[in-house]
């Protein structure tokens, strides 16, 4: 039976990319909405 492939770096890269997208979108959306709701555009 073949050995399990050593490719953990792809998993780490995918989780980092996803975290960056979700966190940056959440933060910018919150700041945009807060600014619009306070009357600053």
């Amino acid at each position: 039976m073949p050995d399990t492939p050593q490719n953990g770096q792809f998993m780490v890269a995918a989780y980092i990319v996803a975290a960056v997208i979700y966190l940056s979108y959440s933060l910018t959306l919150y700041l945009r909405a807060r600014s619009a709701a306070s009357g600053k555009r």
């Binding site: 039976m1 073949p2 399990t4 492939p5 050593q6 490719n7 953990g8 792809f10 998993m11 890269a13 995918a14 989780y15 990319v17 996803a18 975290a19 997208i21 979700y22 966190l23 979108y25 959440s26 959306l29 919150y30 945009r32 909405a33 807060r34 619009a36 709701a37 009357g39 555009r41």
Partner: protein, 235 residues
């Protein structure tokens, strides 16, 4: 302070809390994937991208489907709240689609040996992403609120047509993308630890969708209020 602004602030607070909880849940999913689920023998650790990629695909397709349905509802009801929800769901769907379209190739490289293939499912998903980028650009280009809502509703409905094709593409065409292993007529085929982690992840990212849509709706409400006031001042 008007009712709309007060409502926008309340929605922003609720959406912010839900989003924060979901993001913490996302960190929990990472720990579950790493500590609880077994390493798949043939794919290695790269298989754990599954717990991120599948919920992102789920979030994107739900978001775009709801945008399409809300767009149809807008054309029937002419209700600005429905249009605001459609716009919110489309923008949040783009964030989920961005995660789906980046984690897919990172998973594909070690397993398929290539970052990308012009396979029907991958290509249709990319087209859907571009369609919703166009939807956002269209909304940004039109200044009359009713015209903007009507035109973008048509694009939202047209994009909705792509969603079932994407889901069924693995059955309809020869494709390198794997067949569904959870949503199957004869039930899921993966080990119980993997299934539990996947279900937790889908729940967490559904919560994230709800939090983000609530915040985006609050933004739309505040923007519509400012636009109406500016229109009132001009007239």
């Amino acid at each position: 302070m008007t009712d709309d602004i007060a409502r926008a602030r309340t929605l922003l607070r609720i959406g912010g809390v839900v989003t924060l909880l979901a993001l913490l849940g996302g960190a929990g999913v990472y720990l579950l994937a790493l500590r609880y689920t077994p390493v798949e023998a043939s794919q290695g650790l790269a298989q754990k991208i599954f717990y991120l990629h599948v919920p992102a695909a789920w979030g994107a397709l739900v978001a775009f489907s709801l945008c399409g349905l809300a767009s149809a509802a807008y054309l029937l009801l002419n209700e600005p709240r429905v249009d605001r929800f459609a716009a919110s769901s489309a923008e949040v769907g783009l964030a989920f689609a961005a995660v789906m379209l980046t984690t897919g190739p990172i998973w594909g490289k070690p397993i398929w040996g290539t970052w990308w293939d012009w396979d029907p499912r991958l290509t249709l998903t990319l087209l859907l992403f571009f369609l919703f980028l166009g939807y956002g650009a269209l909304r940004g280009a039109l200044h009359d609120p009713r015209e903007r809502a009507r035109f973008s509703a048509v694009v939202g409905i047209m994009a909705l047509v792509l969603v079932p094709f994407i889901h069924l593409s693995v059955y309809l065409y020869r494709t390198i993308h794997p067949m569904p292993i959870v949503l199957r007529p004869d039930g899921p085929t993966l080990p119980i630890e993997m299934l539990r982690t996947l279900l937790v992840s889908v729940a967490v990212f559904t919560l994230l969708y709800l939090g983000l849509v609530t915040m985006r709706y609050a933004l739309g409400l505040a923007q519509d209020h400012a636009e109406a006031n500016a229109g009132g001042t001009d007239a």
